[in-house]
Symmetry: C2
Subunit: 341 residues, 2 copies
Amino acid sequence: MSVSVKRGRPPGMMDVARLAGVSHQTVSRVLNEHKNVSEQTRLKVRAAIAELGYRPDRAARALVTGMSQVIGVVAQNSSLYGPASLLTAFEEAAQATGFAVNVGSVRSLDERSITEAVERHLDQRVAGLVVIAPVASAGPALAHLPADVPLVTIDGDPERSSTLVTVDQVAGAHAATKRLLDAGHRTVWHISGPSDWFDAAGRVRGWEAALTEAGVEIPPLLTGDWSAASGYRNGQLLARLPDVTAVFTANDHIALGLLRALNEHGRKVPDDVSIIGFDDVPEAAYFTPPLTTVRPDFAAVAAATLELLMAQIESGTSEIGTRRTIAPTLVERNSVAQHRN
Amino acid sequence: MSVSVKRGRPPGMMDVARLAGVSHQTVSRVLNEHKNVSEQTRLKVRAAIAELGYRPDRAARALVTGMSQVIGVVAQNSSLYGPASLLTAFEEAAQATGFAVNVGSVRSLDERSITEAVERHLDQRVAGLVVIAPVASAGPALAHLPADVPLVTIDGDPERSSTLVTVDQVAGAHAATKRLLDAGHRTVWHISGPSDWFDAAGRVRGWEAALTEAGVEIPPLLTGDWSAASGYRNGQLLARLPDVTAVFTANDHIALGLLRALNEHGRKVPDDVSIIGFDDVPEAAYFTPPLTTVRPDFAAVAAATLELLMAQIESGTSEIGTRRTIAPTLVERNSVAQHRN
DNA sequence: TCATGGAATGTTAACGATCACAACGGCGAT
DNA sequence: ATCGCCGTTGTGATCGTTAACATTCCATGA
């Protein structure tokens, strides 16, 4: 039997209290799992809550506590795999805390857009703020934030002193480059992401470091923009250079474009050219050939972010300067071959 | 090194009123753009607001009006391109309305998960609800919703009588299939999405309809799960059948897997086999070869959804049975060739 | 001249929760 | 028996806003 739907105002704490024969304060205590409540009345209250289908009004709670149960997230409104995955990973992690996640997406990561998005969140009186800000231009917007709102930046400016969680881009790029060198390649080329992205910069540094360590010549840096298109463009150049035998691309989509360019020029992967990407997008295993790539652990990033944010929220203070770095792992597939000299 | 900052209470309407030398009600009137306020006091109040950096407290407003300025969205927490794009498109559209968007993502679209996500949103007293519910199992969860919350379903059950916005899957699939037939192919094979997805079912219907119209034999239906993996599996089968010359895949990632399988079997695309996908993911233009595909207009879907939802919210009633269908467009690239018989 | 009305502003009471503190009752210690 | 403590429960006051109603002031017409 289904219960008929009741119209009008939803039941309040008072209604529950009346039905259970206690005061509204006792109901509040049961809800907040306060310790000094007898088992007997706790059950009575629980029963009344269930019978009325009562839901506490978060607005009322927020009003008196001065704190909402909402976390604001600022992320770029793009289908870029990294930021998008981060967003959903964070949302999922946040569910367990009872906090709601408010997304304020932004078309581009310039200062004004970010400021606007942050303002919208402050209007909503969010309890905390997460900014996925992988570009330098995001910095100034965050500098002018009221200091009293808990804030964690993901992939933000390493130079800036704020609470920060990042994927260890340098380590990932280093591992990828070293893997190619270990396969016998004389050197490794790199198609980077946009230079104003911290992620891209870190990957360039890791690549350079591995090359320097090996005492190997550093080829000119090619710059892409994360897109398959940019991989294709740069690929058309690389495909014509016979001494290019190994390429590390800043992400998997660039690798895809590169793959197509090499294919069009009759250069076989991995026989003629070895490739390693970054991100491990779900389709990477079904590129032709399946792509060896570096996988960042988005769930771990999300978990660390949430942890740092909750710590700030619970303590009622903004801890500034905490860092958390998540190491990525190299996923071996078939786009790397031993180099025959 | 970490610094901590304590939070104080932000200024309220009373503070503004005191500074402006008026009553709090007048401040409220200025904020809500009530008509009977003299220009002079309006300016005084505006100045005081600016000086104090006052922001109205949405919680207090929500408490007294019984209505929050938040829209809840339930979406699957996956990197599936379609749902993810829809989500960001909707978020962007919603910004203009002043409503915040609360995402409640869900690991899988079974009844319990959806019910839980909806419950979380109702807990937050959202003003309206958008459910991206492309599978049949979502239906029962929505049936038990309180009738008084504005609700729009995206890609939901066409049989179910609720406000619904959908991409015209049938038309898209029909166009793709017809395009292949027009290129001279004797018939067109199809690798579908999971059978419990409405999107997948619609695409199957459009494919069948085009075939039937042309009076052409309908090949056995192959079933995938949106993943490149499933495209690859089914592709290994198709690649061994010499009479397969045209394939319409339910999405671009399936097409990617298929591409790899055909490639491994030495069957050239588009020379030996023509392919059309669905979704127009950003990388589709850089597959090998560039993929002809069907592009749904996510922005249009988002706009229609928001429009229907706001209408319900503003009128305070739930219009039931309204439908809005968005037509997709065929994007021509190089994965289709004229069939030489 | 005085009611009548409308524009501008003020006053008071909700809304539904939490917080601080008061009151009650039982129980052991003096 | 009296005192005081502690676990339990109840009683206002309060958060910041909007809704409903009250007030003031001045222009207008009988």
